[in-house]
């Protein structure tokens, strides 16, 4: 999923300060999974903001709503009719959702309540780990299903580097060396011969090449 974290409260308070009527909008997908922007988090944030407004004698009226997704037109459309009653929307979606909503309703400020972080997994309750960088050229099968682009701090394809110590990355002693993990698992799978290969330089144009990326499927278009 896409992970995100709520911005510090003082930053959010400053963001909404020009507005009196704010629609607090959550998203039930990725950000709900990482407990940052789902229905409960909307309730929590809205309550805190209302209390702050009362204590600082500022006018603030809020409404809470959570869409199933904020990145798909059909769901965003559910705000039609409702949104004009508000001066601004405080969105608890990821950056993709915030922008998608703004495209449907360009004349109302959509304020980002979260800082979007990474693509990752829920490893266990309360722990999310980055494991994909969207490089556009997935070769996980060659690296025992451990991504060297994401999990190696130097995105080495022919690893490890000389700083790998006791299975830990030199950058952070709490981070396992991705190459230590790859080699260990390749050995367990009997695939160490894959490492005899000298992997050629990556094609970063698949990630970065021509600005923001696009996918078009004509068979899916209306």
């Amino acid at each position: 999923m896409i992970t995100a974290e709520r911005k510090p409260l003082d930053e959010i308070i400053a963001m909404i300060s020009p507005y009196k009527k704010v629609l607090v909008a959550g998203c039930g997908s990725c950000v709900a999974e990482c407990v940052a922007g789902g229905e409960k988090e909307v309730g929590l944030l809205a309550s805190a903001l209302r209390m702050d407004a009362r204590m600082t004698t500022r006018e603030l009226e809020t409404r809470e709503i959570t869409l199933e997704r904020q990145c798909v037109y059909e769901f965003i459309d559910q705000l039609t009719g409702l949104i004009d009653q508000y001066d601004a929307v405080l969105s608890l979606a990821c950056g993709a959702g915030v922008q998608a909503v703004a495209e449907v309703f360009p004349n109302i400020p959509i304020l980002p309540a979260l800082n979007t972080s990474f693509l990752g997994q829920t490893k266990e309750a309360g722990l999310w780990l980055e494991n994909c960088r969207g490089c556009g050229d997935c070769r996980l099968h060659l690296f025992a299903d451990i991504c060297p682009v994401t999990r190696c701090a130097k995105q080495i394809f022919n690893g490890p580097c000389g700083g790998s110590q006791e299975g830990q990355c030199e950058v952070n002693p709490d981070t396992p060396c991705a190459w230590d993990l790859i080699i260990t698992r390749l050995e367990e799978r009997g695939q160490l011969d894959l490492l005899e290969e000298v992997y050629a330089p990556a094609d970063w144009s698949k990630k970065q090449g021509a600005g923001p990326r696009k996918i078009i499927r004509e068979d899916q278009q209306n």
Binding site: A153, K154, Q155, I156, F157, N158, G159, P160, C161, G162, G163, S164, Q165, E166, G167, E170, V171, C177, D180, I183, T184, L192, L195, E196, V198, Y199, A200, P201, A202, W204
Partner: protein, 308 residues
């Protein structure tokens, strides 16, 4: 006048080579590097220049190499892949060759988070092994990545680093084999303190016949003090310093520790000279370049200007 790599000549002639390292200053003054070069001249075959080591901004390796060349030394241009993409790296290889630099050492580089520019973007377009491959291709096939032909190929002796002491241990020799396969012609190892472990690694190296495919130079860093030894053991990744060595350093008074450290280095060099597959030493006496002439002399490695 045609320039040739002194290091390559010495190794090709079957002589025991000596290289040393010097770090450029954190400033624009060329004198700082020239001074170090003058200390080392005559005591080494080639001098490595570090490339923004530890992610700390210093006078560029390429510029420092040129300054050393002007002093009559044979520089080894260290290139890390952390700071520049393939366009810049290939361009610098051409530039280095044009400026008469004949040796390069291809490295990953310490992660930028260690240095004084921790907010910088780490580039890592290529990894060190891909850089080795790229350098060899430019030299031997006059091609850059992608196959476009160069108007004239660079002339370079291509090297890499090896760390026999990092993990996973069993894999370190496979990694060396990969570097050789990618085209490394000489290897400088991480500094050696744990002789047993190093011998173990060399045995595996010889078992794979790698010692016949690449010239290996053993790394030496003289210990200045017991505290330095302890610091390196705890704080520096990929370092293996046995407790016995630290005790040995502690057993002499602080005033005598430098001497003891030099003694240990000499003993290590003597052991390396006897090892099959070791073709030289690489002395990394960072901020103690003055120790190099003494080490080289006491290890019986003078004179250096061998007519090859």
């Amino acid at each position: 006048m045609k320039t040739e790599s002194q290091l390559k000549k010495v190794l090709a002639a079957g002589h025991f080579a000596v290289t040393a390292e010097c770090g450029p200053p954190k400033g624009a003054d060329p004198e700082a590097i020239v001074k170090k070069g003058r200390i080392l001249k005559g005591f080494v075959d080639s001098v490595n220049v570090t490339d923004n080591q530890t992610g700390v901004v210093r006078l560029s390796s390429l510029a420092a190499c040129v300054l050393l060349r002007q002093e009559g030394l044979d520089p080894v241009f260290q290139m890390v892949v952390r700071d520049r993409n393939r366009i810049a790296l290939q361009s610098d290889i051409l530039g280095a060759s044009a400026l008469g630099i004949r040796n390069i050492l291809c490295l990953s580089g310490d992660h930028q988070s260690f240095g004084n520019q921790a907010q910088a973007l780490g580039v890592f377009d290529l990894d060190s092994i891909q850089l080795i491959q790229t350098a060899r291709r430019m030299r031997d096939e006059a091609q850059i990545i992608g196959g476009e032909v160069l108007t004239s190929p660079p002339e370079l002796f291509v090297g890499a680093a090896a760390n026999p002491f990092a993990d996973p241990f069993f894999y370190r020799v496979i990694r060396l084999a990969k570097k050789v396969k990618a085209g490394a012609e000489f290897i400088q190892t991480q500094c050696i303190y744990n002789m047993d472990r190093f011998k173990d690694w060399m045995t595996q190296v010889r078992d794979r016949g790698l010692h016949e495919k690449v010239h290996i130079l053993g790394g030496i860093t003289p210990l200045k003090s017991a505290r330095m030894a302890e610091y390196m053991k705890k704080q520096v990744a990929g370092m293996d310093i046995p407790e016995a060595l630290i005790s040995r350093m502690k057993s002499v008074s602080p005033k005598e520790q430098r001497k003891e450290g030099l003694k240990i280095s000499i003993e290590t060099i003597r052991a390396l000279k006897e090892m099959e597959g070791i073709h030289g030493i690489h002395i990394m006496a960072i901020e103690w370049e003055e120790a190099v002439p003494q080490i080289v002399e006491e290890a019986g490695l003078l004179p250096r200007s061998i007519n090859v």
